[in-house]
């Protein structure tokens, strides 16, 4: 009886220590990646290639999601506001929530699922098939050659994708509010312009998406690089990227919102 209890407590201790060890490895790994970013100057082609697979290929899902999120936001806020005769504020509701929350957060969640998992799987498979050790044998630094371009591409692509998401969402909201529900087009834009600040709303939303870009890319490349080199470990690492990435986004979103908008 006591043995079982002791075993349980030991397991708890081991899990905690493992967690801290992973966190430490991840931090050291991030430092190493950051110190190897300079290598990109010698080979900009590597970055371009990653920007294509991380940014351009994520574009379609971002555009479609943004369009429909904007449209449904306009529809829902119209139903809520029309009772108060404030249906002209639909644009404020749509644009504000897109810029501050939905743009950065949904883009980051989709990004973790679409691009983050691909990054982990790619790097993890390179590790499993010993391509990374092969590179080291040939005196090529795999962090500089493989990891750093992917990390930087994620960091650059994320704010751009969030901006595209928000812009397409605003257009979707405009379509529903003006073309479908018959609100005044001028009132739509004038209300948005009167109530939305360039720095406070757009600027802070972009800072959020940049932070999310760093965190998701970091988790994705680390999970790939740190995965157990088996097909099972690779699958687990990919899952972990999406789960940890999404949780990190949602928790960080609360922290950032409290810091930026909570006065």
């Amino acid at each position: 009886m006591v043995d079982i209890l002791l075993n349980r407590i030991q397991m708890l201790g081991r899990t905690t220590l493992d967690g801290f060890a992973r966190l430490g490895r991840a931090s050291l790994f991030l430092l190493e990646v950051l110190s190897n970013l300079g290598g990109m100057l010698k080979r900009p082609g590597l970055l371009i290639k990653q920007l294509f697979s991380v940014g351009v290929q994520t574009l379609i899902i971002i555009v479609v999601a943004g369009l429909f999120v904007g449209m449904v936001m306009a529809l829902q806020s119209y139903y809520a506001l029309v009772d108060f005769g404030a249906e002209n504020s639909v644009s404020v509701m749509v644009v504000l929530s897109l810029l501050r929350e939905l743009g950065p957060v949904i883009t980051a969640l989709l990004f973790a699922g679409r691009a983050g998992s691909a990054l982990t799987a790619e790097i993890g498979l390179m590790k499993t098939t010993e391509q990374l050790s092969g590179m080291e044998m040939m005196a090529v630094n795999p962090i500089e050659r493989v990891v750093a371009p992917r990390f930087l591409a994620g960091v650059i692509a994320m704010p751009l994708l969030a901006a595209i998401f928000s812009a397409v969402g605003v257009m979707g909201g405009y379509l529903v509010a003006v073309e479908l529900l018959g609100l005044d087009a001028g009132a739509f834009w004038s209300q948005a312009q009167e109530n939305i600040e360039l720095i406070d709303d757009l600027g802070n939303g972009m800072i959020k998406s940049l932070v999310f870009g760093v965190v998701v890319s970091w988790i994705a490349v680390f999970e790939g690089y740190d995965c157990t080199p088996t097909s099972e470990g690779l699958g687990r690492a990919t899952t972990r990227t999406v789960v940890y990435g999404s949780l990190a986004i949602l928790i960080l979103d609360f922290v950032l919102t409290a810091l930026m908008f909570g006065k």
Binding site: L59, A86, L160
Partner: protein
């Protein structure tokens, strides 16, 4: 995929991202000059414009016929100036047309309502509407109501 196509696509992606940021900045700040259909401008003086804003609608008989383009304050007469642009097809408003600031719904947006007069001459670009009625400010009305109740 060859390098050229790849770089082209990435270039397009970055350009689209920057264009999206630009579009958001335009719709979020007052930089844009959306809906710049050329109309003629008339001015009106008001004692109090309430919550009227630039780009608020101008309507006659409930139909939107133009927009407020500029709002200013005249230190000489201590009055607010409202400049509005009327769409060119509505070019036959008599010169004694009156303007009032109205509210759509109880708490809705404020707009300028034009009530046509009876003169033969028409408003043209640069005309000044002299017959105006200020916005009804809810607090003032409630205040007056309470005072009048208090007197009874």
């Amino acid at each position: 995929m060859n390098t050229r196509t790849l770089e082209l696509m990435v270039g397009l992606f970055v350009a689209a991202g920057i264009a999206a940021l630009f579009m958001l900045a335009m719709s979020a700040s007052n930089l844009s000059t959306y809906g710049g259909d050329e109309g003629y401008t008339v001015k009106a003086r008001f004692d109090n414009i309430g919550g009227l804003k630039a780009r608020s609608p101008v309507s006659a008989g409930g139909v939107r016929i133009g927009r407020v383009t500029e709002i200013g304050y005249d230190m000489a007469g201590y009055e607010a100036w409202v400049t509005m642009s009327i769409d060119p097809q509505y070019n036959a408003f008599p010169i004694d047309t009156s303007a009032s600031i109205l509210t759509s719904g109880l708490l809705g947006e404020q707009y300028v309502g034009l009530e046509p007069g009876a003169e033969e001459e028409y408003l043209t670009s640069g005309s000044v509407i002299t017959l105006t009625q200020s916005a009804l400010v809810l607090e003032q009305i409630i205040g007056q109501f309470l005072y009048s109740k208090g007197d009874e």
